[in-house]
Amino acid sequence: MKRAVHDRGGWGDETPIDRTEHELADWEVLMDAIVGALSARGVMNVDQLRRGIESMPPKEYEHTSYYERWLYSVELILSEKGVLLPGELDARVAT
C-alpha cells in the first residue's frame, strides 16, 4: 500500500535516530510564533499544517529540518487561501 513520506513506522532502516538537541535559531522561534498567530486568528489549523508537511516531495522532506517543513506548509496553505500571492514571498525576500 502506498504510504506518504511521513508515515514511516516500521520502515527498514539501520540508521540510528538522531536525538541531538540544538538551540533554536531566531527564525525557528519566529516560525513557531507565526503558526501560533495564524491558528489563534483562525487562518489555519494544525491539521492543515500537518497536511502541508505530508504533501512535501519525499526528497525535500528528507533534507529539511522540523521548522523548514513548517515553513513549507505555511507557505503552501497561505497560497491556497490567497493570503499569499504566487511569488510574493520570493519577491519580498529578494528586495
Partner: protein, 91 residues
C-alpha cells in the same frame, strides 16, 4: 459502528491519499479496544479547512508488537488512538 472496551477490532486496510491519522503499519492489524476516549472533529476534513463535522469517536486500541512487526519477534504492546471510521469488527 460503535465499539466497547474489550471489543476485538481490525484497522481498515485501505489507502487514503489525504491527511489521516491512521499509521500505515497498523492497517489490517487486529487489536483490542482499551478505552473509548470521546468524539472529536475529524482531522481528515479539517486538514482541508472544513469544519471537521460530524465528530468522530476516537478509541485507544491495544496491539501486540509481535503481530505488528512480524516476522520480527518483538515483545511488548503498541497503544494507538484510532478513529472509529478506521475500525472494523474483527471476526
Amino acid at each position: 459502528m460503535t465499539f466497547r472496551v474489550g471489543d476485538q477490532v481490525r484497522v481498515s486496510y485501505r489507502s487514503h491519499d489525504g491527511h489521516h491519522r491512521t499509521p500505515g503499519y497498523l492497517k489490517g492489524m487486529r487489536g483490542t479496544v482499551l478505552r473509548v476516549h470521546a468524539t472529536f472533529t475529524d482531522p481528515e476534513t479539517r486538514a482541508y479547512g472544513e469544519s471537521g463535522l460530524p465528530e468522530r469517536r476516537l478509541y485507544l486500541v491495544d496491539f501486540a508488537a509481535r503481530e505488528v512487526w512480524y516476522p520480527n519477534a518483538v515483545d511488548g504492546r503498541i497503544f494507538a488512538d484510532v478513529f472509529e471510521h478506521w475500525l472494523e469488527e474483527a471476526s
